[in-house]
Structures are given as C-alpha cells and as structure tokens.
Amino acid sequence: MPETIEQVPHEAEADLHVRHHFANAEQQMEASTLGMWTFLITEVLFFGGMFAGYAVYREMYPAAFAATSEFMNVEIGAANTAVLICSSLTMAMAVRAAQLSKRGDLIKYLIGTLIFGITFLVVKAFEYHAKYVEHLIPGPNFHPEHLAPQFMHNAQILFFLYFCMTGMHAVHMVAGVGLLTFLLIQAYRNVFHAHYFAPVEMIGLYWHFVDIVWIFLFPLLYLIGHWHW
C-alpha cells in the first residue's frame, strides 16, 4: 500500500455519518464514547464476578493455589502478555492514523493488531491443548503429576477458574478479532477520516479493555507459585 497523505475532507462529510436523531456529529461522538465506557463498566462487573471468586478461594486455599500455579507455563504466558501489549500499541497507532486521515497507516496498524490478536489466540489454543494432555482439566480426568496429594481437590478450583477466566477472555478476543476485521474492511473502503473515526476509537477502547483484563489474569494465575511466602 503506497503511503499517501489523503486530502482532509470537509467538515460537512462528518455530517454524512450523523444519524437522524442526533443534532450534530459532536453529540453523536459524545454519545458513542459514553456508551462504550458504560459498556466497559458492565464488562468490568462481568469479569468481576470471577475475580471475586478467585479472591475468595485464594484467601481460603493460598498454599494449594501457589502449588497449582506452578503448572502454568510462565514463559508462554509472558510471551503472550508481550504480544497483547504490542497489539494495544498498534491499536493506539491505528486510532491516531484514523484521526489524521492516514488510510494507509490505519490499514497497516489494523493488520498488525489483528496479527497480534490471532497470535495470542493460537498460542492460547496450544496452551489449552497442553493442559488437556497433562490431565489438568478439572473433573474426573484431573490427574496432575507431582502435585502434593493434599492439594489435589483444591487445585481443581484454580484450574476451573483458570479455564473460565482465560476462556471468557478468549471469547472477548475472538469478538475483538471480528470487530477488527470489520474495521479493516471499512478502512479499506476509506470510510474513516479526521471527521469520522468513532468506530475505530470505540473498538480501540474495547481492545484495550480486553488487554487489561489479561494484564490482571497473567500474574494472578501464572505467577503466584513463583513467590514463596
């Protein structure tokens, strides 16, 4: 894609995207922003239920949680964390590119974000598969090797939380990948410019939120076993 600085459209072009019930583009943008932040608050509460469960059981069974956490693959988890942080960077760059009407940059950064996102999901799939092979799925087939017998029951709680929390996070990642694909198509059609970039910014907010959830999940699930107190 050759890099071209596209002509900044006239203000009036912003009004083409104003839906009938808004007075002007500014009001529409404010509504979208507030709506997205409100939605993210509901997402915080949604994950909050699981974090509350985690807090309760970590308090009840600290030793079992620490011992179980050693079964998590810290290297892969850390690598995936880095991947997600990079994806947030490219997402932020994409929003900036949209605001500056740089279509080429926007497409480039969206593709970058997509690649990082998909990489994360593929790595996660391998990680899940490894857990399955090692009999770490909670339930009748739960047989971790080298786990102290007294932790055998409580360990299933951490693994249950691990699969629910990372699984729900992965579902959000998949939704995010879908939304990014939608943005990419729109960007390719040159829909976004300095006076109309709300979808890029809103989906960007969502993407950052999903990343932040992982930033909390990684230490809580992977790292607690590597500190001995």
């Binding site: 009938h20 404010e30 507030l34 709506g35 509460l45 909050g48 059981y57 629910c164």
Partner: protein
Amino acid sequence: MATTYPTTPEAAAEEPVNYLNVEHGWKSWLFTTDHKRIAMLYVFSITAMFMIGGTFAMLMRLHLTRPEGIFAPETYNRFFTMHGVIMVFFFLVPSIPATLGNFFLPIMIGAKDLAFPRVNLLSWYLYIFGAIFAIYVVAAGGVDTGWTFYAPYSTTYSNSYVLSAAVGVFVAGFSSITTGLNFIVTVHKMRAPGMTWMRLPLFVWANYATGLIQILGTPVVAIALVLVAVERVMHVGIFDPNVGGDPILFQHIFWFYSHPAVYIMILPGMGVISEVIACFARKRPFGYEFIAASSMGIAILSFVVWGHHMFITGQSVYTGIVFSFLSFFVAVPSAIKVFNWTATMYRGSVTFESPMLYAFGFIGLFTIGGLTGLFLSTMATDVPLHGTYFVVAHFHFVMVGGMLVAFLSGIHFWWPKMTGRMYSEAWARFAALMIFAGFNLTFLPQFVLGYLGMPRRYAAYPPEFQVLNVLSTAGASILGISLVIPLIYLTYAWKYGPKAGNNPWGAKGLEWEIQSPPTTFNFDDTPTVTEEAYNYGEEVEEQRVA
C-alpha cells in the same frame, strides 16, 4: 371525561401520519429502529410471557387447594420455578423500562429516539432469543431449582433443564443491560435544550436509576449463571463442596445482582406513579428533588443489602448484622417517596380516573409490601419467617401490588398517547377495583400462613392451613380473570375506541404536547424547554373544566 371526545366513526376514520401507520408489513416492525415500535414489540412479548408465567401461578394455586396437592410434588417444583423464572426475568425486569420507558423516555426529554436505536432493536431480539429458550424449557419439562438456581442443587443434582434455562436468563440479561445502557446515554447526551437535570420528569429519573442497576448488576448474575452452567457440564466447579468449593459463594454472587434486580422491578413503577399522581392531583410533586434523589439513593443502597437474603444460610452473624442495618436504610428513600406522593395529593384537585385508581392501589400495597420487608430485614424476626409464605406475600405485594399495578397504571395513563384511542373508562375502573380486591384476597392470607409457619415451595401442607390456602386460590382466580379484562378493552380501544386527542388528561410534559400517536421522529423540531416539569397552573385547570 370520556364524553368530551369525538366518538363518531367519521372522526376516527382519518388518521394523521404517525409511527403506527407510516409503514406497513411485518418487515417494517421486525427491522424497525423506532423506539416506539420497539416498545410496542416489547408490550406484545412481555404480555405473552406474562400469560405463560400467570398460567403456572394458577396451576400452583390449583395444586394448593388440597393439603396433599393435586399434581406430583416434582411437577409442583417445576411450576413454581417456571413461574418465578418467567415472571422475574421475562416480565418484571423488562416490564416498564422496555415498554413505557422505551416509548416515553426519549419523548419526555425532547429527543427523537434513544441514543442507540439499533442497539435498542438488538435488545428486543436478545429478549426474544432468551424467551425462546424459556419456552423450550417449558415445553421440554421445566426446571425445578427455584428461580434462584441455588448451587449445588442446580449444578449437580437437579435432573431438569437447568442449562437451557440458564442460557435463556443469560441472554435475556443482556437485553436488560442494553436497555439500561441506552437509557443512561440517552439521558446524559440527548436532552433537548433547556431540559436540565432538575427539569427531568420523575419517570426519567426512575428509569435512569434503573439503568444504573441494570448495567452494574446484571453482568454479575450473568457470570454466576455461566459458572453454574460450566460446573454442570464439567461435573466440578467452584461451587462444588467436593473440591473445597463453597455453595454460599453462589448465593453471594447471585444476590449481588438479584437484590438490586428487585429495585429494577420497582423503581420504574415508582416513576410511573410519580407522573400519574402529579397529573391527577394537578400539582407539582411535593419535594420533586427528594423523589428524584431517592431514586438514586435506592439504586446505590440496592448494592449493599444483598446479605439479608442469607441470614440463615451460613453467613457470619456479624455480616448479618451489617446487612440488616444497611437494609433498614432502604426504607428511608422508599418512605420519602410514599410520603411525598401523599403530600402531593394534599390540597390538590384529585380526580379518580383509572390510572389514578391504580396509583392509589400502588401506594397502599407498596406500603404494606415495604413495611413487611422491615420484618424480614430484622434478623430476629427473619429467622422464623425466612422461607415461609410471609416472604412470598411480602415480595408479591411489592412485585405485583407494586410493579404490576404501576405497569397497569402507566399503560392506562399513556395508552391514549401510544394508540391515539381512548378505552372504556367504566371497564377500566371496574378492572382496577377487581384487581385490587383479587390481589388482596390472594396474598393477605399468605401473610397469615407464613406467620403460622407454612414453608414456601412445599408441595403439601397440614390440613389446618387449607382454609387460608383456598381463600388465596379464590383470590388468585379473581385476580387472573380481572387481568384479562384490560387486555380485552385495551385491544378493543386500539381498533374501535374514540380518538383521544393529544392531551386527554390535561397533563403537563413534552409527551402530551405532541400528536397522538406520535410521528416517527416525535417532534418536528427539537423543542426548547423553558419551564420545570409539572408546571401545573390555573391555565391547565381551566382547560380541563372546559
């Protein structure tokens, strides 16, 4: 009043262009983004679900006419569960916000639509999708966990359709979240020029407060249901005592939503009553600011009282004391509302049209429902009353005597605006009185039964409770039949009723200044608001006499 409207067929023949006749065909309804059409879709949907839930209530009352019951106990368990699930999640939660709120919130603040019309339509589709699961569960054989889905019964032992029911409630929950989100953004960003926060009608305040609870509470019950569903599939989970899990945690997470949800099911009703009383007392609501603030107060307090559902289920005594103490606080904003409504009527020119009759019913029944709540938030009295018919009677006074009556009040108040037609006032008054009588006959005996110690959810009872149970069933029959009456005359009025005119009640508020039924965009030009809400002066009084 009804005599003043044009009743000739010729007058009713020509209809100006409005949201109902602007387009025709099923596509124009299923793909609409008009908040008013979506509200009407919701009216039909929740009425259908109400009838299913009501049928289960009648089956329960039928079963309880004999001490040993009529159906198998397992069947009875499914009756009360399906009644609860359908009535709570598919009727009460969406009832006023999704119908009257959807219709009037944008109009009352001078907006052309909600902030996100397509999300609004999505909300209805989510509701329908959830309702399909609920109906599938009914057809397949039902759930028997109680509407509360308590673990470990729901996760491990129940042999009923828990998974499908959980999916249905989960999906319907997102319909509730999207409605709440839309309301919050709309109130913040879509108000017409001059419509300041302190000029907002109280119905808008109530729905805004409801929206806050919907977005903050509902996701928590959603995740609780996900955890139950996953635990059911994997045969192990965080609520499973076999691996050290704690079933009480489920109750905490569940009630963290479901207690605030009780206020989702009453706040919008309070909003309706504030509108109706101001209109039929011809006065600005006494202490407008306090009523508005008390809605917000209830929304905030709702999140710190959930433990009063768990006084005897294993939570520590000290936690119980704190929750008991906090629960009493909810009585303060609720009492402010009741006192202010009565004070509004004081020296007002009160008239007794059917919406007002329902409002009177609401004040009385909600007061009883609220005051008996204090018995249950007192730990010492809750211990013997917990899990008895006293609790059943208490929350039905709030949910049916409060919310359902408020819904009917609002429907009667705004039906002329929604359809442009007037219903039969005589039938409406008759139905209002019958509903009030039937309701009291149904649930007053249940207070006594609970006090005498009859446990809820039991399929059989000692013979000495039979008289009170038969009385309750008799009341339920009256209530059930009287609820059909409005369905008939309101539908009839929509087609054959006399034209209502733009402001049949002489009420104040933006919704009464526009055409009945409204046009698609509500206002030709965005209105500029220059006065506070409820500016009832002498001018209105004159209009009304003439």
